[in-house]
C-alpha cells in the first residue's frame, strides 16, 4: 500500500438525477465507515459554481491529498474537477472521477442494487486513487514555419492561406514550374471558365508572396522530427537566376545540385496523383492504335488548339469512355464523368458537327451544379451509352468499340477514342510514406487519421495530407481540403505559444526492457525508438498519444502507461470485484 494519504470522497446528487435513483445517505454512511477515508461529503450539484467552490474549500480545509468524486461521466466533468484540484493546490492527477450516473443511477432499475453498485464503484476509485502519481504538464517550443510538398493546386492553396496568416512557407515542387496538372487544363467544369484565369492568378500570388519561398526542380529527401520541430532536407537543382544578379553567377550556379536544410513545425503533403497505366488494360488499345488518347493527352491537344486525328484530318466521331480501370483499382475516381462532359463541350464548341458518344459504367454527377451540367451537355446532341466489357479493335484506321450495353448493342464505330482512366496515387507516394512514416491505404493513397473526426491529419502529428494525394477529387474539393489543412496548422501552432503535450503517455523502464522491440512494431505513431547502445526501447513523449498498445504488447512489463498503469487498473479491478 502507498503512504498514508488523506482521502476525500465527494458524492454528487446531480440534482435529482443521482439522488432519486441511489440512496445517497447509505452511500455516505458506508464510505465513511472505511478506515482509509478522511472526508465524505454530498453535494446537490458539484459542477455548479457553488459546488466547485465547496469542493475547493473542503480540499483545502481538510488538507486532503487524494480526491474521489462520484458523479457523471469523465467525458463530461473530469477536466472540470481536475481544475478544481489544481486551484486547491493539489496535483490534478491525484483525483479520480467515478461515473455513478451513467453507470448506476440511470441504468439500474432497482434502487438497492444501484446503491450497492455505487458503493462498489466508489471503493474501486478510492483504491485506484491511492496508486495515482503526480503528473506534470509538458510544453515544447514550436516552429510556426511550414513545409508544403507539391506545388499543384492543393499545395498552392494551402501555402497562400498559411502565408496570409503570416507563416513562412517553403513550397517544394518536383518539376520546373508550380501549378501542377491543372496548368494543362483549358477550361474548368461545370462553368467552362478558362482555367488560366484561376491558376495563373494563384501562381502569381504565390510568386509575389514574400512569406512563400518556392523551390522548383526540388525534392524532399528526408524529414526528421515531430510536430513543432521538423527538420527537412531538400535536394534542389533549381536555377535561381532571378536572385543572382551577375551573369557570371548564373553560369556558376547553373543547374548545380545543392541540399537545403529547412526547419519547420508542420508538413503538408500535396503530391497529387498519377493516372492508371493503360498498358495494364490492353483491351482499350492504347499505345497500339493511333487515335486512342488518354484524358490528359486530349486535354493537352485541345489546349494547344485543334482537335485532329493523327493523319491531320478532323474527326467525324469521337467516343469518350468513362470508368476505365475502375474495376481494376476498386474505386470511382470521382472526377472523370465531369471532365468527360467537359470534353464533350470542348468538342462541340470547336467541331459542332462531330458525333460525340459517352460510354460509361455508372454516371457520377453529384452536388448542386453537376446534374445541370450533364443535362446541358446532353442537350447538345451528345449520346450516352451504358456499356460494359468494352473492347476496341481497329481496321483500316477505323476504330470499333465492341461492348455490352444499353441502349446501343451494336459495336460502335468511331474515329477517335478518349480514355477517362482511373486516378492513381502519385508514383512516388510509397517513398514519401516511408520517409514521413505515414500510411497508405489499400489503394495507395495516403490515409487520414480519421475519415470524419480528423480528415486532413495523419497518424503522424504535424503531417497533413491534402488534394489528390489523399484521394481522387476535383479542384474545388482540393482547395477546400487545402484550406482545412491551413486552418488546422494555423490553429495548432501559434507563434510564441508553446505546444502542450499529452501527459498520459507511455514510458518504458530501462531496467526491465529486454530490447525485443515488440512495442516498436505495434506503435502507430513511430513514438518508440531503439537505443542501439543501451539495447532498450525508448518512448518519444512528444509523439506518444498514450493509447497503451505498447503496454498491452510488452512481454517483460517494462512498458507502462501513465495514469493507466497496470497497478492502478489492477487495484481498481480487485476492489470492483470484492
Amino acid at each position: 500500500m502507498p503512504m498514508e494519504e488523506k482521502i476525500g470522497v465527494y458524492v454528487c446528487e446531480c440534482g435529482p438525477n443521482i439522488a432519486d435513483k441511489v440512496d445517497i445517505d447509505k452511500v455516505v454512511e458506508t464510505i465513511s465507515s472505511l478506515p482509509s477515508v478522511n472526508v465524505v461529503e454530498r453535494h446537490k450539484l458539484l459542477c455548479s459554481e457553488d459546488g466547485k467552490k465547496f469542493l475547493k474549500e473542503s480540499i483545502q480545509k481538510n488538507e486532503l491529498t487524494r480526491i474521489v468524486v462520484a458523479a457523471c461521466s469523465p467525458k463530461q466533468h473530469e477536466v472540470t474537477f481536475m481544475r478544481v484540484c489544481e486551484s486547491a493546490g493539489i496535483n490534478p492527477y491525484f483525483f479520480q472521477l467515478t461515473n455513478i450516473r451513467e453507470q448506476c443511477a440511470w441504468i439500474i432499475d432497482d434502487k438497492e442494487e444501484a446503491t450497492e453498485r455505487t458503493i462498489r464503484y466508489i471503493r474501486a476509485a478510492i483504491r485506484r486513487v491511492l496508486y495515482h502519481k503526480a503528473l506534470e504538464k509538458k510544453e515544447i517550443e514550436a516552429n510556426p514555419d511550414v513545409l508544403v510538398i507539391g506545388g499543384g493546386i492543393a499545395g498552392i492553396s494551402a501555402s497562400l492561406l498559411l502565408a496570409s496568416g503570416d507563416r513562412k512557407v517553403y513550397l517544394i515542387e518536383k518539376t520546373k514550374v508550380v501549378g501542377g496538372k491543372v496548368r494543362e487544363f483549358a477550361k474548368l467544369f461545370p462553368r467552362m471558365e478558362p482555367c488560366s484565369d484561376i491558376i495563373s492568378q494563384k501562381i502569381k500570388e504565390v510568386e509575389n508572396n514574400k512569406n512563400i519561398e518556392v523551390h522548383t526542380d526540388s525534392e524532399v529527401s528526408e524529414v526528421l522530427g515531430f510536430l513543432g520541430n521538423f527538420v527537412a532536407k531538400v535536394n534542389t537543382s533549381e536555377n535561381k537566376a532571378i536572385e543572382q544578379p551577375s551573369e557570371q553567377a548564373i553560369k556558376e550556379k547553373g543547374l548545380e545540385n545543392k541540399e537545403l536544410e529547412l526547419k519547420v513545425g508542420a508538413v503538408v503533403v500535396a503530391t497529387g496523383f498519377s493516372m492508371l497505366d493503360l498498358q495494364q488494360l490492353p483491351q482499350y488499345g492504347y499505345g497500339k492504335y493511333d487515335n486512342v488518347y488518354t484524358a490528359l493527352e486530349f486535354e493537352k491537344m485541345n489546349a494547344e488548339g485543334k482537335i485532329l486525328l493523327k493523319n491531320g484530318k478532323p474527326p467525324k466521331q469521337i467516343a469518350i469512355i468513362h470508368c476505365v480501370g475502375r474495376e481494376k483499382v476498386g474505386y470511382c475516381s470521382r472526377v472523370c464523368c465531369m471532365y468527360s462532359l467537359k470534353f464533350a463541350n470542348y468538342i462541340k464548341s470547336k467541331l459542332p458537327s462531330v458525333k460525340v458518344s459517352h460510354l460509361y459504367t455508372d454516371l457520377t454527377v453529384p452536388g448542386k451544379t453537376y446534374q445541370k451540367f450533364y443535362e446541358q451537355t446532353k442537350e447538345k446532341d451528345v449520346e450516352f451509352i451504358r456499356a460494359q466489357d468494352i473492347e476496341i479493335t481497329e481496321s483500316n484506321g477505323q476504330l470499333t468499340i465492341n461492348h455490352k450495353g444499353t441502349p446501343n448493342l451494336k459495336p460502335l464505330n468511331t474515329d477517335m477514342v478518349i480514355l477517362s482512366s482511373a486516378i492513381t496515387p502519385s508514383s512516388d507516394a510509397h517513398k514519401l510514406a516511408e520517409m514521413l512514416n505515414i500510411s497508405q491505404g489499400d489503394n495507395g493513397f495516403f490515409v487520414e487519421e480519421h475519415p470524419k473526426l480528423a480528415p486532413v491529419s495523419t497518424s503522424m502529428e504535424g503531417i497533413f495530407i491534402t488534394g489528390c494525394a489523399q484521394g481522387p477529387k476535383n479542384i474545388s474539393d482540393s482547395i477546400v481540403q487545402a484550406q482545412a489543412v491551413a486552418g488546422k496548422i494555423l490553429s495548432s501552432i501559434i507563434p510564441g505559444k508553446k505546444l502542450e503535450l499529452e501527459v498520459k503517455t507511455s514510458e518504458i523502464s530501462e531496467a526491465l526492457c529486454i530490447g525485443c522491440q515488440t512495442c516498436l512494431e505495434v506503435c502507430s505513431y513511430g513514438a518508440i525508438y531503439f537505443d542501439e547502445i543501451k539495447r532498450v526501447c525508448i518512448v518519444n513523449e512528444v509523439l506518444c498519444r498514450g493509447c497503451g498498445n505498447c503496454v498491452g504488447s510488452c512481454p517483460s512489463g517494462a512498458a507502462s502507461s501513465k495514469h493507466f498503469t497496470t497497478t492502478q487498473l489492477h487495484q481498481e479491478v480487485v476492489e470492483a470485484l470484492r
Binding site: 469523465p74 440511470w106 441504468i107 498520459k504 503496454v551 498491452g552 479491478v573 470485484l577
Partner: protein
Amino acid sequence: MQEEFTPKIVGFLCNWCSYAGADLAGTSKLKMPPSLAVIRVMCSSRVDPVLVLRAFLRGADGVLIAGCHPGDCHYEKGNYYARRRFALLKSVVETLELDSERLQLSWVSASEGPRFQQVVTEFTEKLKKLGPNPMQEKTSM
C-alpha cells in the same frame, strides 16, 4: 429459495467508442443488469493479458473487452491488436480450466447505446448459465 446468481463482469471499455457508447446507454436510460464493473482504458489495445487473467483469478465471472469497430479505432489500429491478443488469450483462459466463453470481445461505437445494453444483457445471461467462476473457490483460501 436460492438467491439468483448475479455474475460479476469486469468490462474494459475503450475511452473513445465503447465508454462513450456506455455513456449514451446511460443518458438514454437503457436498463441493464447490475453485473458490470466498468474499467476505462484509453484503447482496447491497452488491455494486457495479465489484467484479464488477474481479473479471473480475483473471481470475475466474466471479462468484457470493448473497443471501436474495426477501422474506427481512435488510434488507427489498436482494436486489431486487441483482437489478436484476445484470440490468443482465449486459449490461455481455457488452460485455466475456464470456459473461454467467459471472455468476450465486442465492438461498440459511441453511437451504439442500445448495442451496449444488448452486449451487457446477453453476456450476463450467458454467464448466468455458466454459473460462478470455479477459480473463485480454488483461489480463496
